[in-house]
């Protein structure tokens, strides 16, 4: 049964990538909000924020990239939900295909779409004066962390995609994820925050991921942050993957 997994996943991924190619607005709307935040914070609030780095946009970009991913994955839930609504999901399920390929196709599509959005956001940041001395290895490490984070959040998105009762429900789960970076070291250093907020900010996943990416961009030693970041990403990925598969199995049997 699983002998067709790779082939079926490729065919179905091709299908949803075609959806994206025909409505590129999903990639643009994914990138618009993070870009708006970036403009707002760099040109409006940024002057008053003391971060200790030479340019605020350099400090800000890692957090903006995470917001980009968080807003991008809501489209995965949306697309999955539409497949379920439209009946094509049932058609696929009644065909002799590897059943898990239906989910994997959406996950891989999410990865591709998010990577494109991330490239758009980084290009805008470069226009706004973002500079990094990181070499090829540094950029690859950043890309690796972002890919892992995208996969983790995408598997979270699969759950509402499968279980939501309405389109709004399918995409609303993304809002808390989009706002999580605000209570982290993404926009301002955590030292100025009052005790409990600071404790939350320093122990939630975004801070370690942002710090690791920032250190890679500024060629600082990444110390323990990168391990905490990787542990968070892998941990979320595994848990979300398991829950998504439980929801999926419930849906198809």
């Amino acid at each position: 049964m699983n002998k067709h997994f790779l082939g079926d996943t490729t065919v179905l991924t091709g299908r949803s990538l075609r959806h994206i190619a025909r409505s590129p607005d999903t990639i643009i709307t994914t990138a618009i909000m993070p870009i708006a935040f970036m403009l707002l914070f760099v040109y409006v609030f940024g002057g008053a924020i003391q971060t200790g780095s030479d340019k605020y946009v350099n400090y800000l970009l890692p957090g903006i990239l995470l917001i980009t991913i968080a807003s991008g994955i809501s489209y995965t839930a949306f697309r999955l939900f539409l497949d379920l609504q439209g009946g094509i999901f049932e058609r696929f399920q009644s065909m002799p295909i590897a059943r898990s390929s239906v989910l994997w196709a959406h996950v891989l599509t999410s990865l591709v779409a998010n990577l494109i959005s991330l490239v758009v956001v980084v290009l805008v940041a470069l226009l706004m004066g973002f500079r990094s001395g990181a070499g090829v290895l540094g950029w690859l490490a950043v890309a690796g962390i972002l890919v892992l984070f995208t996969l983790a959040l995408t598997w979270i998105a699969v759950i509402p995609g499968l279980t939501a009762k309405s389109v709004d429900g399918a995409s609303a789960f993304a809002y808390p994820l989009i706002f999580l970076p605000f209570i982290s070291s993404a926009f301002v250093p955590t030292d100025t925050m009052p005790g409990p907020v600071r404790a939350f900010a320093e122990h939630q996943p975004v801070t370690s991921i942002v710090n690791a990416v920032r250190d890679l961009f500024t060629q600082q030693p990444v110390d323990s942050d990168i391990w905490t970041a990787l542990a968070w990403c892998v941990g979320i990925l595994v848990v979300a993957y398991l829950f998504a598969n439980v929801s999926y199995r419930r849906k198809i049997s």
Binding site: V11, G87, R91, S94, M95, P96
Partner: protein, 254 residues
């Protein structure tokens, strides 16, 4: 050889349903909304599991040999399960690829021709009319020539012309030896198409037989003389020239 035999019980929705469908025949499952027709189809197409009872499709058990069942069937659900963003041809190619067939492009072109969709083939399905969507949907179900086809209310929401097109397609299917299980709430549809008809009511099959057998359940017909009036359907089809090719002369500009 039997197409399928099944009997199962499910709380409320289905309370013990037994059906036998002969290979190569058209079997209509008739019932009002909520009678459980779709549930039966979903169980047979491995989308749902029955609480109790067993069902076999093309000789395979729907629970223990689900993969073999999926090889043997295709499902056309209540709502046209087509991808709106893809073109008609891309939809067909997609299904052919997922059925792991050689030369999906040729298969797609053949089906487009057979269902008079060649011209629309490269357009996005979102631009199709209800009847075209349904035809595409049925065409997608025929890819790989599965021996058993489930049609769940295939003409619900279609205009009379599109309905006739679907009927034609179903008849051709059965002539080709495919076993068709059709659910419908339209009595005339069952009458037109089916070799055997079963009526599903409140989760049970209350009758099962050929049209003639069902008619015998009622007292013999009395002869009455009634003035022959054209039905509204006759009028409608005549006025819109229902694919009769010839009647397109009399200034039917809208």
């Amino acid at each position: 050889m039997q197409g399928l035999e099944k009997s199962f019980k499910q709380l409320k929705v289905l309370r013990g349903v037994d059906i036998d469908v002969a290979r190569g025949s058209i079997f209509a499952l008739l019932g009002s909304n909520g009678a459980g027709k779709t549930t039966v189809v979903k169980i047979l197409s491995t989308l749902l599991k029955a609480d109790t009872g067993t069902a076999r499709v093309n000789g395979f058990d729907v629970v223990t040999q689900a993969a073999d069942v999926r090889e043997s069937i295709s499902l056309t659900g209540q709502f046209a399960a087509v991808d709106e963003i893809l073109s008609g041809r891309e939809n067909l190619v997609l299904v052919a690829r997922l059925r792991h067939l050689e030369d999906p492009g040729t298969i797609a072109d053949d089906l487009l021709r057979r269902f008079s969709l060649t011209e629309a083939g490269s357009r996005r399905v979102a631009t199709y009319s209800g009847g075209m969507r349904r035809r595409l949907d049925i065409a997608m179900s025929l890819i790989g020539s599965p021996p058993v086809v489930f049609l769940d209310e295939p003409t619900t929401g279609l205009d009379p012309e599109a309905r006739l097109e679907v009927w034609q397609a179903v008849k051709e299917l059965a002539q080709g030896g495919t076993t068709v299980l059709l659910t419908t709430q339209y009595l005339d549809e069952a009458e037109q198409l089916a070799d055997r008809i079963a009526i599903l009511h409140e989760g049970r099959i209350i009758v099962n037989g050929t049209l003639d057998e069902l008619k015998q359940l009622l007292p013999p017909a009395e002869v009455e003389y009634v003035e022959k009036q054209p039905t509204l359907e006759d009028v409608f089809l005549t006025l819109v020239g229902a694919r009769t090719d010839s009647a397109r002369t009399d200034g039917e500009q809208r």
